[in-house]
């Protein structure tokens, strides 16, 4: 990767989002280098999910720009950004309740092929993705629930399916919004191991409140507070940063 050091895979400059005058994301400069794992932390309401929505085109920035993989993607539609190689998982589990688990993954795998437009073909065509779908479900530990409706999954399993869907798109940039929220210890460790595995050769940005997860995975960390970047650096730098310590002690009390 010759140009990895030349320019970051993802770069925002002065990215701002206002909701009726309220600044949820304020002048955020973020640079994520190719092949790194980046954590986004901060208290609830800091603007992390809003930032993800801006990066994936679900919200249009009030001002500022987003560059991904050498091009300006500011204002592009979510499906366009997905095709460029950005996949996300949602903080609030967001699935198709009436669809089986394996159908979810097949639908994600079919997305870049254009098979979805073939209204004259049999839905059985989707089975060509079955093998790959089952392999992905195996990776996230859901192989034995492949036939179940997504609506019937336990919470942690829904999170795992979110991850499988994002992985199915084989993205250059993987955005995970609280992938371990609500998981038991065992599932948290499995998710850490899984993210570690899939982050080889990939760039990952994730939000998590669990400092064990952040410490195990993140090369670099950005701390957001009230929509602004409070601190940025390696996990150890950020952890000992005075402003961060103050902010966290301040709110922990």
């Amino acid at each position: 990767m010759p140009d990895a050091r030349v320019s970051p895979l993802l770069e925002t400059s002065a990215l701002t989002k206002e909701f009726r005058g309220f600044r949820a994301v304020s002048e955020v400069d973020l640079a994520v280098e190719q092949g790194t794992v980046h954590a986004l932390v901060g208290p609830n309401g800091a603007g992390k999910t809003t930032l993800f929505n801006l990066l994936t085109g679900f919200l249009t920035p009030t001002s500022g720009t987003i560059r991904f993989d050498g091009r300006d993607i500011t204002g592009q539609q979510p499906e366009q950004i997905a095709h460029l190689g950005v996949a996300r998982s949602f903080q609030i589990t967001s699935l198709f309740d009436q669809m089986s688990v394996v159908d979810h993954v097949e639908l994600a795998l079919a997305s870049p092929t254009g098979l979805g437009y073939r209204f004259w073909r049999s839905a059985g065509q989707m089975r060509r993705f079955r093998e790959r779908a089952m392999a992905l479900l195996g990776e996230v530990g859901l192989a034995d629930r492949a036939g179940a409706y997504a609506g019937s999954l336990a919470y942690g399993q829904k999170r795992a399916l979110e991850l499988a869907l994002a992985l199915a798109l084989d993205p250059k940039l993987l955005l995970l919004d609280e992938p371990t929220a609500g998981m038991g210890l065992e599932d948290v460790d499995r998710t850490i191991a899984l993210v570690k595995k899939v982050s080889a050769g990939r760039t990952v940005v994730f939000v998590d409140h669990n400092m064990h997860v952040v410490g195990s995975l993140a090369d670099t960390v950005t701390v957001l507070q009230s929509g602004k970047v409070l601190a940025q650096g390696t996990y150890d730098q950020v952890r000992t940063d005075e402003r961060v310590v103050t902010a966290y002690l301040g709110q922990a009390g």
């Binding site: 979510p78 499906e79 996949a87 394996v102 639908l107 979805g116 437009y117 004259w120 989707m126």
Partner: protein, 342 residues
């Protein structure tokens, strides 16, 4: 026991909890029964009424493709049914071509009309989508009403011929024969709808219906899919409207008025959305009921069907078909459990 269950899950993916309409045997049985009833219909029902049932069934299926499978409530589908009725009539009158060709022409024009209307309305969702489609349909109604030289204004378009090459005399002699001549067009329409909802495209539509944001995050261009579904649906409504116009021998403003859009939504919801069978059942019930009421000299048909609609929708949220299916499934499950505990 549980290991056994899990293994079965692996073998027959995906497991669907609904037995009716899912197990291949049941599906084929329903299809055969449906075909026999359709073919036998003009023996039991006055043939023009049988033809009306078939046409309205396809019209309602076209609405179900949007409402039941894509999550879009079109309140302006009379625009496509009516535009095709007029176009079919104009082609048949002016060219003398066989009526299936005229109907095909009507359906194509309905689809062309659906491109700009779909493009401009799919950005809206829910009630706003319904309102935008209604507004466009009212515009088409207005144009047809004003453009007397072509549409005949309030008099409608009279004398649409039933041309069919060497069979013209036969299909003109008796509406019984016309039913069988026109039925293949309806069946082709139903087949297209069935193929569509059981295709990869149909899978994406259901995904869009259930969670559009997620579908977009997976890279699906939701607006484009909705426009495609809208245009396909308009084509089916067009086929139905064309058959209706040729069957009656005229096209009138009645075909374009908003109550026609309302009636087809009523039929669809009454029968049960998201099933394809539901709209067929709804059409059979509403059209034959209206015929009964009309032939008994009763004037308040709209009030009666409206009242029945309200009662059924309140009592059976999933429509007649959906409610019956859920009932049968519950009964099957119970019976199976009973058999196991014996």
């Amino acid at each position: 026991m549980s290991a056994q269950l899990e293994q079965r899950v692996d073998v027959e993916l995906p497991t669907e909890p609904s037995a009716v309409g899912r197990r291949p045997v049941v599906r084929w049985a329903m299809l055969v029964v449906g075909l026999i009833v359709t073919l036998a219909l003009p023996w039991f029902v006055y043939p023009p009424v049988a033809m009306d049932i078939a046409a309205w069934a396809l019209f309602a299926i076209s609405v179900d493709l949007l409402l039941g499978y894509t999550g879009l409530l079109s309140f302006g589908h009379a625009a496509f049914w009516g535009t095709s009725a007029y176009t079919t009539g104009l082609i048949a009158i002016n060219s003398g071509l066989p009526f299936p060709v005229a109907i095909l022409g009507g359906a194509v024009v309905a689809m062309l009309l659906a491109v700009p209307i779909g493009y401009l309305s799919v950005r809206r969702t829910g009630i706003y989508f319904a309102m935008v489609t209604l507004a466009f349909a009212q515009m088409i109604y207005f144009i047809a009403n004003q453009w007397r030289s072509v549409t005949g204004g309030e008099n409608g378009l009279q004398g649409i011929p039933k041309n069919l090459g060497g069979l013209t005399d036969l299909v003109n002699s008796d509406s019984f024969y016309f039913y069988y001549a026109a039925l293949p067009i309806i069946l082709i329409g139903v087949f297209i709808a069935w193929r569509t909802v059981n295709s990869p495209f149909g899978r994406v539509l259901v995904a869009i219906r259930d969670n559009p944001a997620r579908a977009r995050a997976l890279g699906y261009d939701v607006e484009r899919y909705k426009i495609m579904a809208f245009v396909l649906s308009a084509g089916l409504a067009g086929l139905a409207g064309g058959v209706f116009a040729v069957s009656h021998g005229f096209a009138s403003l009645q075909e374009l008025i908003w109550t026609t859009s309302g009636k087809v939504v009523l039929i669809t919801v009454l029968g049960g959305i998201g099933t394809l069978w539901g709209p067929v059942l709804g059409a059979a019930l509403v059209v034959s009921l209206e015929d009964q009421l009309a032939s008994s000299g009763f004037n308040g048909t709209g009030i009666i069907t409206g009242a029945i609609f309200v009662v059924i929708v309140l009592a059976f949220r999933h429509g007649i078909w959906g409610t019956a299916r859920n009932g049968i499934n519950a009964w099957l499950r119970k019976r199976r459990q009973g058999a196991r505990s014996d």
